[in-house]
């Protein structure tokens, strides 16, 4: 796969990703600093009732980790499938001019297969929220 623009010789090595590592540490440091500052500056008066979770002013009942509608899970699964598809499209989108008509036809076959599955899912009622 060729990610470069018009064959420019700018292949990047892992060390080129150093800025992102440093950026990560700077960002983490910023959050730590802010959290520490608010911890030192803010008051600390904790009571049992204050530490309870909010529930419309009534006493909180039971565990909040209740079973959640399966539809959310289904959407997540669908996302995984389609996201993989989008990732496949990235190298193609960069190189489709070299791949030409064959590339487009292959992509078309890929999309048709995916859309068939997609319509099957819709027909099955995956997005019907009762």
């Amino acid at each position: 796969m060729n990610f470069q623009y018009s064959g420019m010789p700018n292949v990047q090595s892992p060390s080129d990703y150093l800025p992102i590592l440093i950026q990560f540490f700077v960002a983490a440091g910023f959050v730590v600093l802010v959290m520490a500052a608010t911890h030192l500056l803010g008051p600390k008066r904790k009571s049992k009732i204050k530490l309870e979770t909010f529930e419309c002013g009534i006493e909180s009942r039971d565990n909040a980790r209740i079973p959640i509608s399966i539809k959310y899970f289904l959407v997540a699964i669908l996302f995984v499938l389609f996201d993989v598809e989008v990732i496949f499209m990235y190298p193609w989108a960069v190189n489709f001019k070299e791949l030409g008509i064959t590339g487009i036809l292959e992509m078309l076959v890929f999309m048709v297969l995916l859309l068939t599955g997609f319509f099957y899912i819709i027909r099955k009622g995956a997005l019907k929220w009762a």
Binding site: P19, Q23, K44, S69, F82, A93
Partner: protein, 358 residues
């Protein structure tokens, strides 16, 4: 007035002459990191103020106008108040995840700052897969939101996080497709190449109807991805109190808030880069004099004005459309936007192959 490019170049030269190469590199990175933090806080303050003013004028009221000059220091005062507040961790919560979530959300949006070109040749990190990097990193923030909702041990938080998770991952698809249309036209994933490909016209003008369609889809998708109204299912203050950050208080809440507003800036900046030409000035074909006048405006001003225009549009949405229900929201994405963007991508490919753009 020296441009940002010249300033950064002279700082770079100063560092390389005064320090050994490794130290110069590290100092450069450190300066960039500190600048990003500075920009981050300033953006947070400005955008919150802008949001309050915009919403005020849309509702025919004045908005904050007491603190500082015409209320400009209002958000600073609010931040100061939030720093001095107690940060509570509820007793039933998963304490580690509860405190980790703001880190994750904020670090994600800070990492997204790296490939954004603020002016001509003024970019912290121009990597060759810039667009892919942005799509990849921006999807991490959903983990932070889910983490916050789950660890709070609060019913509202969990519901908000679940909705937000489903919503963000769904709209990421059509946002990705809309970004891909521009990648197809410019033939590169590198941000600077994408901007340079718009030298003779921005993609939204050059690419005809398909690019306009993908621009509209992009704006809708990023509005949903940043949890903005009319897609603010994650917060939905009238039904879920505050959604996934109900239990967060003080500065921990402020960090979520900050990350939210900076994310709006980032997605609008990306939209401006991809569709509106980034820092490229506005040119009209062969109007030499007009184009030269446009060239006089600094590139950073161009970039910022485009970005803030898009931010204003997104704020405008908030007071124009009523909130959607979660099933309507997912229907909109899966049944309309996703198929449309798929076919739109094919259409753009056809346009690019046939050379139908200018």
């Amino acid at each position: 007035m020296p441009s940002l490019e010249e300033i950064s170049k002279s700082v770079h030269d100063l560092l390389t002459t005064a320090l050994p190469p490794v130290m110069a590199l590290l100092t450069g990175f450190l300066i960039a990191g500190l600048l990003v933090i500075g920009l981050f806080t300033v953006l947070g303050l400005v955008l919150v103020f802008m949001e309050r003013k915009v919403s005020a004028y849309m509702q025919i009221r004045v908005g904050p106008n007491r603190v500082g000059f015409k209320g400009t220091a209002q958000t600073l005062a609010d931040t100061l108040k939030l720093v001095l507040k107690e940060g509570l961790t509820p007793s039933g919560s998963d304490k580690f995840l509860f405190n980790l979530a703001p880190f994750l959300v904020l670090i994600t949006s800070m990492l997204l700052m790296a490939p954004i070109p603020f002016a001509r040749n003024f970019q912290m990190w121009d990597l060759n897969i810039g667009v892919l990097y942005i799509t990849a990193i921006s999807s991490i923030s959903v983990i932070g939101i889910l983490m916050a909702g789950w660890s709070s041990n609060n019913k509202y938080s969990l519901l908000g996080a679940m909705r937000s998770g489903a919503q963000i991952v769904s709209y990421e698809l059509s946002a990705g497709m809309a970004i891909l249309t521009v990648v197809v036209l410019s033939g590169s994933l590198k941000i600077s190449d994408i901007i340079l490909s718009q030298q003779n016209g921005w993609w939204i003008f050059k690419g005809h109807i398909p690019v306009i369609i993908s621009f509209v889809i992009f704006i809708i998708a990023v509005t949903a991805e940043t949890n903005r109204a009319p897609f603010d299912m994650a917060e939905a203050e009238s039904e879920l109190t505050a959604g996934f950050h109900t239990e967060y208080s003080g500065m921990k809440f402020a960090l979520f808030f900050l990350a939210e507003y900076v994310n709006i800036f980032i997605v609008c900046a990306i939209g401006a880069v991809l569709f509106l030409g980034g820092w490229m000035p506005f040119h009209i074909g062969s109007w030499g004099a007009f184009n030269r006048v446009m060239d006089y405006i600094p590139s950073s001003v161009w970039f910022m004005s485009k970005t803030f225009f898009l931010i204003f549009v997104i704020m405008w949405f908030r007071w124009t459309f009523p909130r959607l229900r979660i099933d309507q929201l997912l229907n909109l994405e899966w049944k309309y936007l996703l198929p449309i963007s798929l076919f739109n991508l094919l259409l753009v490919t056809l346009v690019a192959i046939m050379g139908w753009y200018f």
